[in-house]
């Protein structure tokens, strides 16, 4: 291997195939000795918010320090500068993003000065292709050159309130038809594009813009989504006025303006339905702004930038804006770890990783089936399942578990899946599938997940656990996983392993992981 790239996003298309190897996403647990050269190539996700920038760049540097300690001094290391995200902040005087990026690049330069055989590489200038970001976590597209820096537009008069429709605007699909677990929000495309839009709306709220919801739906259903849906970014506390009913939207907007004590000309109404927009535009003679909504979810980032340029960007915050902003910041305050870590385990402990193991339900089944289809690297048996197959498996008295993970940097969602089949006498169990998404590797989460499962099986009175490691072209990373728990091969040629739960001793789960209980 010539070059090994440490990365946190999809970069493969930018390198020739064959000569380059890549770390897992954000994974610094492996520094291969046979690499001739190393490259540090971390990028900010294009949807990063100003307050996340500092947390993320601090985390990048902590990871880099762990790597630095392990790369032999004689080997070449290339450090790639970080680019500023292309979207301007809502409040132009907000320099948090710029300073976080500048501080990170300065830290890289310091390393380059002090370490032999170290070179700086310029930040990529290509621009983001949102389609490829939402589909494949690709932070920029090879063919797209960044446009020349145009001056950022600030509207002559800043609007005060953004009124949002729900179905196909804040999430994909129709709540009344698709149901709580059927709407598309978070996870893969298009849900991640709607989550992006919501995140930008939260950013507006934090810059003093009032958010309101106006939707033709059952109010209870919509409130349940805002309160309980795990993937929602917008929450009840962000919304200052609600009109969820089956009444005329123009009438609802009039009431919202009255309730908030602002003029109709302070409202911007965002709704994917052209008829609703036309109705509102006509009712108020164009006083309420009704921007056209994009046809494709991956166009939401461009739509949001236009929305910000036309109505919401500002040079500075007014005093009232700032007061409101402070409330949100207090509510969302995150502690910043500034320490440098010398060991991976200390670093992992500092991440405050929270894990949740839960039996599969209607909400998680589609994601779990998808994980079995897509996961290649950390997948013991690589049994591909459809949602229907998982349902059949459950109906046969077996168990399917999901593992969700979050840390102080953010929520990873469902990243692990395990399928357990029980013997008739309930004395033994077989792990049919056990996998972990590559997004979550390198933090020891897969080990904690397995330990938790084995403990739970023992508590259920299971005496023997069987599992298989079926080698594929891609799943070498989990080759030694089963033996690490004391599983032994049934005989030397077999792919089948067994573990005697009664004699295997204590299964200790590291205190670095906090398990949240489920109902």
């Amino acid at each position: 291997m010539k070059l090994f790239v440490f990365r946190n996003a999809t970069l493969e298309p930018f390198f020739p195939r064959g000569a380059t190897e890549f770390s897992g996403y954000g994974d610094v647990s492996r520094v291969p000795e046979n690499a001739e050269k190393f490259r540090w190539f971390y990028t900010l996700p294009p949807d990063v918010s100003p307050q996340e920038a500092k947390t993320l760049t601090t985390d990048f540097l902590q990871k880099l320090n762990l790597v630095l300690a392990q790369i032999p001094a004689g080997k070449t290391l290339e450090l790639t500068r970080l680019a500023l995200p292309q979207s301007a902040p809502i409040v132009l005087s907000d320099t948090r993003m710029r300073s976080a990026v500048a501080a990170y690049n300065a830290a890289l330069e310091k390393i380059a000065r002090e370490r032999e055989n170290t070179q700086m590489l310029d930040a990529p200038t290509a621009c983001v292709d949102w389609r490829m970001w939402f589909l494949a976590q690709m932070p920029f597209a090879p063919a797209k050159k960044s446009p020349p820096n145009a001056p950022v537009a600030v509207p002559a008069v800043r609007k005060k309130c953004l009124v949002l429709d729900c179905d196909d605007t804040l999430w994909g699909g129709t709540l009344g038809e698709d149901g709580f677990s059927g709407i598309k929000i978070g996870g893969d495309f298009p849900g991640n594009a709607f989550a992006y839009f919501q995140k930008k709306c939260v950013g507006l709220a934090e810059s003093g813009i009032i958010l309101a919801v106006c939707s033709k739906n059952n109010e209870g259903d919509v409130r349940e989504v805002f309160e309980k849906h795990p993937a929602m970014v917008l929450r009840r506390e962000h919304i200052s006025a609600w009109r969820v009913n089956w009444c005329d939207k123009a009438e609802n907007l009039r009431e919202i303006a009255a309730e908030l004590n602002i003029g109709l000309d302070s409202l911007v109404f965002v709704d994917n339905e052209p008829r609703e927009r036309e109705r509102v535009a006509a009712a108020f003679g164009g006083q309420v702004a009704t921007p056209e909504f994009p046809a494709h979810a991956y166009e939401l980032p461009a739509f949001f930038e236009k929305l910000a340029d036309d109505f919401f960007r500002t040079e500075k915050l007014t005093r009232e804006d700032a007061a409101k902003t402070q409330q949100y910041r207090d509510a969302a305050a995150r502690t910043e770890a500034a320490a440098h870590f010398t060991s991976l385990s200390n670093y992992i402990a500092s991440l405050e990783i929270c894990l949740r193991v839960a039996p599969a339900d209607a909400f998680s089944l589609p994601r779990l089936a998808q994980l079995t289809q897509k996961t290649n690297q950390f997948n013991l048996a690589t049994r591909r399942r459809t949602e229907a197959e998982l349902r059949d498996f459950l109906a046969g008295g077996n168990a399917v578990f999901s593992l969700s993970a979050a840390d102080k940097i953010g929520d990873l969602g469902i990243v692990g899946e395990a399928e357990i089949a029980f013997s008739e006498d309930k004395k033994s169990a077989k792990i049919e599938n056990f996998l972990m998404s590559c997004r979550a590797l390198g933090r020891g989460i897969e080990t904690a997940f397995a330990q938790k499962l084995l403990c739970a099986l023992r508590e259920r009175g299971i005496e023997t656990v069987f599992a298989e490691y079926l080698p594929t072209a891609k799943n070498a990373p989990c080759k030694d996983f089963l033996p690490s728990f004391g599983f032994v091969r049934e005989n030397t040629k077999e792919t089948r392993f067994r573990l005697d739960l009664q004699t295997c001793g204590k299964l200790e789960i590291s205190t670095a992981y906090k398990f949240l209980s489920h109902e």
């Binding site: 999809t10 298309p13 195939r17 597209a141 063919a143 495309f189 979810a297 290649n376």
Partner: protein
């Protein structure tokens, strides 16, 4: 699909997937090299070669040569 386009399409497949020839019925299921990374490379190469842009739903559906041909032809 005319001959010129077929030839260009073949070239894209050959160079992206490192194949000597492009057999009829080629699909993600029967081609080891057509993995998720190369799928992305393939889409990017097709878009650059033909100056087209695929919708996310199309990208997900393009799991075999015939579907790729059909979706590409509709854009040319």
């Amino acid at each position: 699909m005319n001959n010129d386009i077929s030839v260009r399409l073949d070239t894209v497949f050959k160079s992206t997937l490192a194949l000597d020839n492009v057999p009829a019925g080629l699909s993600q299921k029967n081609c080891e090299a057509w993995d998720s990374v190369n799928h992305l490379n393939l889409i990017l190469a097709l878009e650059a070669e033909f100056g087209v842009s695929f919708e996310p739903e199309e990208i997900a559906a393009m799991q075999d040569l015939d579907t790729v041909k059909k979706l590409l032809a509709a854009k040319l």
